[in-house]
């Protein structure tokens, strides 16, 4: 199963994860 997020954000939005990285619920994925 998969969850896809699509969202609008300012260009300054940065992902703080890497492709292939394991994540847990509530872990930071992006910051502004």
């Amino acid at each position: 199963s998969t969850v896809v997020l699509v969202f609008e954000a300012p260009k300054s939005f940065k992902f703080v994860v890497e492709a292939g990285e394991s994540v847990k619920v509530g872990q930071a994925m992006g910051v502004l």
């Binding site: 969850v3 997020l5 619920v25 930071a28 994925m29 910051v31």
Partner: protein, 407 residues
């Protein structure tokens, strides 16, 4: 004679053993390479040939998924439960220390264990981050959407419209309510006036879906509050929804009503894909403070969404059954789309009790009022009645939203 027999035995097992060993090494190496490709490595994607896709699509995947679900709903004998779930946990890497229920025998079957809850506090929510992970899993891909095309794997894209339906922004109109806070830092009391909209005082109950819509402070009879406390579910708008919590409403409204001064030209559409492996916790949570306004259920196929298939099947996310929740957050459009797969065909949204996924032909005909023609369809519903002020269902960051069921 003994030596001759021993030599013969050695010859007999040595040759196949070497073949098996070399094959295993070769397959392992190949799988690792394929996984790297699926996770966005430098290698270009090697898509399946049309005849391979055609052959795969002939498999009765939805029927298999439903059968798999029914099989896993069979109540297991008590003696089998604990060792069975421990074996499953060992094979798929489940951390049993995090499982809410200490006594594994209380899970009647694998379906219940698969949909397990976690102990409170084992998944702390990062309050400072703008976006947090909605699920346990692996981040397969993320980036910026250009020209309405989302990148599935390197060099292969799919259309955003195909994933979410036409013109998703149109379904999430800008918030334009004339709103005034009484005290932003004060904890809101659901029986007290909360806000004044167009000169009318509103209570928390009326804003999150109370029966009267609004109540004047001086002339209201308080019926909405009493009714709200008694009713947990209610039909509002187009779909039956569960009443949202005051806490979620407070958090979301405070966040969404903060001004966003970013001009449209300084914004972009981003995407992220999180894959949940069989051993992962299979409930998903809200990744930020946002309002879900529209639900679009696309009844599609149930192909596998493992990294291997993601790197082989183009448009995979637009082919599979999925539930697109569309709405907005502080910075504009926001959507979250759980995508089903063969082994986890059913998607559940806890605040939307009308939603049924991976249904049979008979069920679809009964509930959607139309003849089933076997084609993929999109069923749309709105959550506009859930919160009058926010115009949808408020979801606070980290709040549990739903999950995936086996089959």
């Amino acid at each position: 004679a003994a030596r001759a027999g021993q030599a013969k035995f050695m010859r007999w097992w040595a040759v196949p053993a070497v073949i098996v060993l070399v094959s295993a090494l070769f397959v392992g190496k190949k799988r690792k390479k394929e996984t790297r490709e699926g996770e966005g490595g430098d290698q270009p994607a090697r898509l399946a040939k049309p005849w391979q896709v055609a052959a795969y699509s002939t498999l009765p995947l939805k029927a298999m998924s439903r059968l798999w679900g029914k099989f896993n709903d069979i109540t297991l004998p008590m003696w089998m439960r604990e060792p069975g779930f421990k074996l499953y946990s060992y094979v798929f890497g489940v951390n049993l220390d995090e499982v809410a229920e200490n006594d594994l025998r209380k899970y009647a079957n694998l379906g219940e264990f698969f949909y397990r809850e976690l102990k409170p506090g084992v998944r702390p929510i990062d309050e400072k981050a703008a976006l947090v992970s909605p699920a346990d899993g692996k981040v397969l891909h993320f980036g910026v959407i250009h020209d309405g095309q989302v990148e599935q794997v390197k060099g292969v894209t799919y259309s955003l419209d195909a994933l979410l339906g036409q013109n998703p922004n149109a379904s999430a109109p800008a918030h334009k309510v004339d709103f005034e806070y009484h005290d932003e830092d004060e904890v809101m009391d659901r029986h007290r006036d909360f806000a004044i909209v167009n000169g009318i005082p509103y209570t928390v109950d009326s804003l999150i879906g109370g029966t009267d819509g609004h109540r004047n402070n001086e002339h209201g009879n308080g019926e909405s509050q009493r009714h709200a406390d008694a009713v947990d579910h209610e039909d509002r708008g187009d779909v039956a929804i569960r009443r949202t919590s005051t806490t979620a409403f407070n958090k979301v409204s405070k966040e969404l009503l903060k001004p966003d001064t970013t001009p449209e030209s300084e914004k972009e559409l981003f995407f992220a894909v999180i894959y949940l492996a069989p051993g992962d916790y299979h409930r998903f949570h809200s990744p930020t403070h946002w309002v879900s306004q529209v639900r679009r259920h696309f009844s599609g196929e149930l192909y596998s969404v493992s990294p291997y298939f993601q790197s082989r099947l183009a448009n995979l996310f637009c082919l599979n059954e999925r539930v697109a929740l569309l709405g907005r957050w502080r910075y504009g459009f926001f959507s979250m789309t759980p995508v089903g797969a063969t082994n986890v065909g059913s998607i559940r949204i806890h605040f939307d009790k009308d939603l049924r996924t991976n249904t049979t032909r008979k069920y679809a005909e009964q509930h959607n009022g139309e003849e089933w023609d076997g084609k993929s369809r999109c069923y749309e519903a709105t959550y506009a009645g859930a919160s009058r002020l926010l115009g949808g269902y408020p979801l606070a960051k980290g709040e549990q939203m739903g999950g995936f069921n086996l089959g």
